[in-house]
Symmetry: C2
Amino acid sequence: MKEVAEAAGVSVTTVSDALNGKGRLPQTTRDHVRTIANRLGYQPSIVARSLASGKTRNLALTVSTADASTFAFGAVDYFVQLMSSATIKALEHGYSLILSHSDADRDASPLPLDGAIVVDPVLDDPALAEFRRQKIPVVTAGRDPASENASFSVDNDHAAGTERMLDHLARAGAQRIALVSGPPVHSYIVDALQAYEGWCVRRKVAPTVSFAGYSLTEAAGYAAASDLLSGPDRPDAIYATLDRLALGVSMAAKTQGLAVPDDLLIAGLSDSRAGRQASPSLTALALDPSEIGKRAVEMLAALVENRPVAEPHVTVATKVIPRASTRRRLGSRGKRLH
Amino acid sequence: MKEVAEAAGVSVTTVSDALNGKGRLPQTTRDHVRTIANRLGYQPSIVARSLASGKTRNLALTVSTADASTFAFGAVDYFVQLMSSATIKALEHGYSLILSHSDADRDASPLPLDGAIVVDPVLDDPALAEFRRQKIPVVTAGRDPASENASFSVDNDHAAGTERMLDHLARAGAQRIALVSGPPVHSYIVDALQAYEGWCVRRKVAPTVSFAGYSLTEAAGYAAASDLLSGPDRPDAIYATLDRLALGVSMAAKTQGLAVPDDLLIAGLSDSRAGRQASPSLTALALDPSEIGKRAVEMLAALVENRPVAEPHVTVATKVIPRASTRRRLGSRGKRLH
DNA sequence: AAACCTTGAAGAAGCGCTTCTGCATCGGAT
DNA sequence: ATCCGATGCAGAAGCGCTTCTTCAAGGTTT
């Protein structure tokens, strides 16, 4: 930088201002400095810049899961979409988005951050706690299950979405809708559970919930559904709180010789390619993860730059996507509803 | 840090030395400082540390491809394995391994690096050029096609491996072995091509090469093989320079009603899960990407730390893994060889 | 013509560390 | 008793930027 200053016949201050568009300099000076700078192939030191400015222009996107080992980030469409849109939005705002798993940070020296997005924080989330300790601005995608409105958040309207999905199932002829749920460690699962129970109370039916283990895989859904389907009072519809669980439910139905949707309706939370391509294709509550990612980054950028944040808790609408797995029944059981 | 120094009743120098295991300090002082430091929850600023030391402890792993858009990093077993082992080795040496695609760097401000591994550099690789310009130490996995021994490298013995594979095919009864090759922009492809041609000359047979386009997918292999198989003088064995190409060859054979291995032997460069699980399972030249990744990181670490590098050009052995797709023929054609 | 504002740019003080150098003190060796 | 090499630690100079402050020169206003 000093060399550029000398070559341009100005001070380092002027070089800095010219290159960063700050200060009160006429355009001619700026252009001159810029010309010299890239003639010399000057590359500013990001490290020095960060130290001096106190900003790193890095944001983290961390995914929290109760059980890290069994979790494959890329296996869930939701995260991939959220991540993609967040990365793009971050770039637009001049930030780099760094991916990390909440467990991964422990080993490596964490990169210096200006802010972080925590996706689906769990109860007593370690990453969340660490960010707060370091006073790093955080936006959560989904809410902190511990302290509802403690942090800025972007979330889906899971309660409303769940009810709409249950209504959809009922309309399709379901009379006993069971819930296959992950462990209630994420806010979205808590929301879904409560909405389900409230819905059941209002409809005056008994809720039936089967919990999958911490590994939210097809196998977990398969196991949870097998229990439900082989027991007494077999449900005629199952709503699963994750697409992969729903896929597992579908497999369980197949194993038990149940036809979908004729003997069992199946729907899942969160749309995914796998669900779309499954046979039968699965009805899903679409969450619009791209929108979540974008809004989270925008909010975080405002936070980091000390700009006012319009809405500390943004809600993104969900949408029921009806597919073959909940096609309206034409037989006797469907008619009995009316 | 100043606070820690005051709380411990020592100078900042001593704090720095104690925490980093440098200087001439008795263990008691070190322990004392450390105790105080984490009582105060002191976290050193990585940025300041980097600026002062001139080191970032970051290494990059960049994958070069001639055509970025059509390339899915995670779709190739080879890269995933290489990356995993490299990450672990890097961590052992106290470095973070940052993944990047050579094109991705252009937009974002690149993270400051101590060194970089360029996987399969292409001809006039932009990432390689940029690292050299910035005088960042580089180790290539595969060699720079432009200037053979310009940079430190870790590579497979592709020439020897290709010959062994061709021998294997010949022993299995092949008489006309064709090559399905990617574009010769990577050293490994150039190596394979040359070895193939040399082998043909020695065996006094005419070489037959079909080039796939820049997208090294199953579709590309399918197209390249379809040409070969529908033309005159149909080959009775095909060696493809990438597992995904080989999978495409297999599909092409199936389409044309050719049985593998009875009518056509198929082998591919680079072992992969997909090839193992294909039907028939594909014979492959295993490249041991884990070893490549490890050795590359070790070499790079030595380079970065100004330690002497024992071998500037490491070679990792390849191994023919015979599978169903090249099972020895028992019929007449196999016997004709002798 | 005096007082004031604007414009263009330089000076200098850090940001929070590392590291080189210096300087006591103390225990042996002579 | 003297000298010398360890040993234990502090001072201070940066690393390469940003940014706050200052300041001169020129242009306006009354």
